[in-house]
């Protein structure tokens, strides 16, 4: 092998660069997201569906709401607890969850998801 030394050194440096993010972050666990509930949400205790379902599948629910309201004109949702809700992101969801940066963004940033809700819908104004 010609220039074997240089090639091997180059490979090692390259591999090192490639793996550097792993070494850099080694031992440091990323902070787990801790979405904060507003006092109003805490007081209500239950969301539209049980919290575990909402945590895992709120986007499925929102997608279904969006579809049924816009296309089928069904504007009310019956939760599994039997309570009726007006299907509206802005009027129903944000009524309690008005802390966008501490609630929505907390997990969305952690998981690197970027929903485009706020391209059109009005983001809640937060009191600083």
């Amino acid at each position: 092998m010609y220039d074997g030394g240089k090639i091997i050194v180059g490979l090692i440096i390259g591999l090192g660069l490639f793996l550097s993010p792993f070494f850099y972050n080694a031992g440091k666990a990323a902070k787990a997201p801790a979405p904060e509930l507003t006092p109003k949400a805490k007081e209500a205790k239950v969301c539209v569906e049980p919290a575990s379902y909402m945590r895992e599948s709120h986007f499925t629910l929102l997608d279904e709401w969006r579809h049924t309201v816009v296309r089928d004109g069904e504007r009310y949702y019956k939760g599994s607890e039997g309570k009726r809700y007006y299907k509206s992101l802005q009027r129903t969801c944000l009524e309690c969850h008005s802390n966008y940066s501490k609630f929505c963004l907390e997990c969305h940033n952690y998981l690197d998801v970027d929903p485009y809700c706020w391209d059109c819908h009005i983001q809640p104004e937060e009191k600083k």
Binding site: T68, G73, Y76
Partner: protein, 273 residues
């Protein structure tokens, strides 16, 4: 092993049988449950919403106000956060005015009566029975509601191809060239705080939707309400399918015209001249 034709038809037939029996099957095994999940307040009770616009009453009101009456337009633009860019090229039109000659080009008459000559006519989406915009939409973002005939927009689905704008013979559709949030605020003090009707992002087409969100609550469209408020009563909204409705009564009593009826789109907006 391949299916022969006979086999395929058998399976297809059975599948169709089961498919048709799906709802009945659920009713047998879990009575009442399907109804519960399908429950929701119906959008509206109308079968075919329509509007009758009395041009005479409208023009009388126009003559009363110094700058011409624009109450319906103001109310609509406020309710839907319609931006005013001040540039007709990128204008967003939900409800607007044009001269009688431009609105009804098929009513060509060089000796038209003075009361109508160059007079402004209120225009909006005709919510056609055969909407050409719906036919050309590649994503079904614009669709005709089966229940009440309103031609709706699903802005989540619109890809901004503007086929519908080319297809619409009435110019009822406009493209959002910019973010409505950046629109001038002066004309629209509610903007952008109206939580009833969310704004749209740029790159989607929008149009009059007969105020579906208001009809769902049992209210009249914003333009009709505004017109009634100033006691002009030039706009009448009602159900065309009901023979005793307010619109049918007006149509029975007056001679009405529609925009470009020869195209076969069957507009649901009627004008009393």
């Amino acid at each position: 092993m391949g299916l022969d034709r006979r086999e395929f038809l058998k399976i297809a037939g059975m599948a169709a049988l089961f498919g048709l029996g799906g709802k009945a099957a659920i009713d047998i095994f879990a009575p009442g449950e399907l109804e519960a999940s399908m429950e929701g307040i119906p959008v509206s009770k109308g079968k075919r919403w329509a509007m009758v616009i009395d041009i005479r009453k409208c023009l009388a009101q126009q003559a009363k106000d110094k700058d011409g009456c624009k109450q319906c337009i103001i109310a609509c633009h406020r309710a839907h956060n319609v931006p005013d860019w001040g540039d007709p090229k990128i204008e967003i039109k939900w409800i607007w005015q044009d001269s009688f000659e431009h609105s009804f080009p098929d009513q060509h008459n060089p000796y038209i009566e003075e009361e109508l000559r160059h007079q402004p006519v209120i225009l909006m989406c005709n919510h056609c029975v055969n909407p050409p915009c719906v036919r050309v939409c590649p994503t079904q973002a614009t669709f005709k509601r089966e229940e009440d005939g309103i031609v709706c927009m699903d802005m989540h689905r619109c890809i901004g191809c503007r086929f519908c704008m080319a297809a619409c013979p009435y110019g009822s559709r406009s493209f959002n060239w910019g973010n409505p949030r950046k629109a001038p605020k002066e004309l629209n003090p509610d903007y952008p705080t109206n939580r009833d009707y969310p704004e749209r992002c740029k790159g989607v087409v929008e149009k009059c939707d007969f105020c579906v969100e208001r009809i769902a609550r049992g209210e009249l469209p914003a333009c009709v309400e505004a017109c009634d408020k100033i006691k002009a009563h030039a706009l009448t909204f009602g159900d065309l399918a009901d023979p005793n409705s307010n619109v049918r009564k007006l149509l029975k009593e007056h001679y009405t015209i529609r925009r470009k009826p020869e195209l076969g789109t069957e507009p649901n907006l009627f004008y009393i001249v």
